[in-house]
Symmetry: C2
Subunit: 289 residues, 2 copies
Amino acid sequence: MSSSPIVVIDSGLGGLTVVRALRAALPAEHIIYFGDTARVPYGSKTAGTVTMFVRQIIHYLRAFEPKHVVIACNTATALSLQAVRKEFGDLSISGVIEPGARAAVGAAGGKASPLIGIIATEATIRSRAYENAIARRRTMARVLTRATPLLVPLIEEGRDQEDPVVRLALRQYLLPMHKEQIDVLVLGCTHYPIYRSLIGRMLGPQVAVIDSADQCAQDVCRRLGNASRLRRSAIGGGLRCFVTDDAARFARLAERFLGQDVEPPAWVSPEDLRETVVQSPHLALRSAV
Amino acid sequence: MSSSPIVVIDSGLGGLTVVRALRAALPAEHIIYFGDTARVPYGSKTAGTVTMFVRQIIHYLRAFEPKHVVIACNTATALSLQAVRKEFGDLSISGVIEPGARAAVGAAGGKASPLIGIIATEATIRSRAYENAIARRRTMARVLTRATPLLVPLIEEGRDQEDPVVRLALRQYLLPMHKEQIDVLVLGCTHYPIYRSLIGRMLGPQVAVIDSADQCAQDVCRRLGNASRLRRSAIGGGLRCFVTDDAARFARLAERFLGQDVEPPAWVSPEDLRETVVQSPHLALRSAV
């Protein structure tokens, strides 16, 4: 069981920031990454649709007998984690939001009534998932949220932190939070760490910036450690990627998120993803890991 | 046959600008609009994936026995029109690119070696569909293309022409074209007419701006007229919309593209869209038009 893979699911490329943190923390683990690039983005879509997509992907990947499934996308976590945990009761599944909320509350420290800012996609903000997760941990925290739908397209276009459009859009999004003097800002989308240093500079050193990708990886370490499922091996684990569209584009852009080159991913047709698997033609894949 | 509907297919909302122009030109026609909002956008995806999606949608909608199918999305036209025309030989199908290219060549007029600018999605630009369509009509025209992937997210976020991020992004995209002194600019995405007046102001009156949505609607009028398939009726035609996600969001944003309110659309699950239809459970829909 300990040498079974960790499955990491994302709408596209952003979840690779979680893989990067996981590989740094747990270099011996085998990781399977699935980016649903044919249907990306999830952030402007409904709970019903996103949950359908995530269920389809877990159905497809359970043939790998994962020891843990990470939903490495804030939108997918916000909209579908509860539903897929219920459906796949035999699998261990975690997301990015609880770890991010926990870290935000921790960073707020002993302050009487801290103000925590959250930036995320439209769907994550609408779900109130961060507000609920923070309220469960700390009743007196105030939360200020802002949907920042332009950041993913800016990052996917390859624009860096020096780009004037990036700076202007971030200024628009963050200025109201700066004025309200937030104590903590949660980057509630796994793409956003790409602009982390610029965001930090704009808000100043008095604001703690929480990277939900980092926190998610640390949470997975804890879970596997507690369950004694960590792989002990001197030989590094493998990384296999699957995408539903454009393997070449994925390979080209992945390095930016992962911090290293990646083998070209395998392609899975969206038509092969179904909510109910009549038969399981994919068990053969298991042996390939 | 003349009272059969015109089917208009798009990745999301942008194609409603074509519906708007169609309804203005042909008020008696019944129109069925399909927005693939669960899988939007198409502009960053591959020909294989986009063609699969368009084939699935035509398979689904042919139960309505359309007299004409319009692919009202530049990306889908660029990547899939040829393939679906071949596959659905019994259907009359047209797109947005040929009409746009024809109008661009017309607007370039008698100039010896006109320079035509094209702005569009990554996928449309990569396909070279506009360059090829222009070259077929006029050998001496020069073409300058630019992928402008930020415009659709800016429009979908609801940002108007006064927004400083919109102005800055457009300036970045258009300045090189302005410097090269283009004679014509084609808005090669059906979303872009939303920013038409700002684009016109930035380029000045000496540049003709071609709206591919308008041109596409005029092309459909010509085709139906030539085939004697226009519906003659004093009573206005109906508009029925289908989406694969978030009917409420569609109803809320549609007015901006259509210029009028729209009845809430019907929802079609992406799981009900298949490339090969084993049986046709949707013929019953036909009677509803």
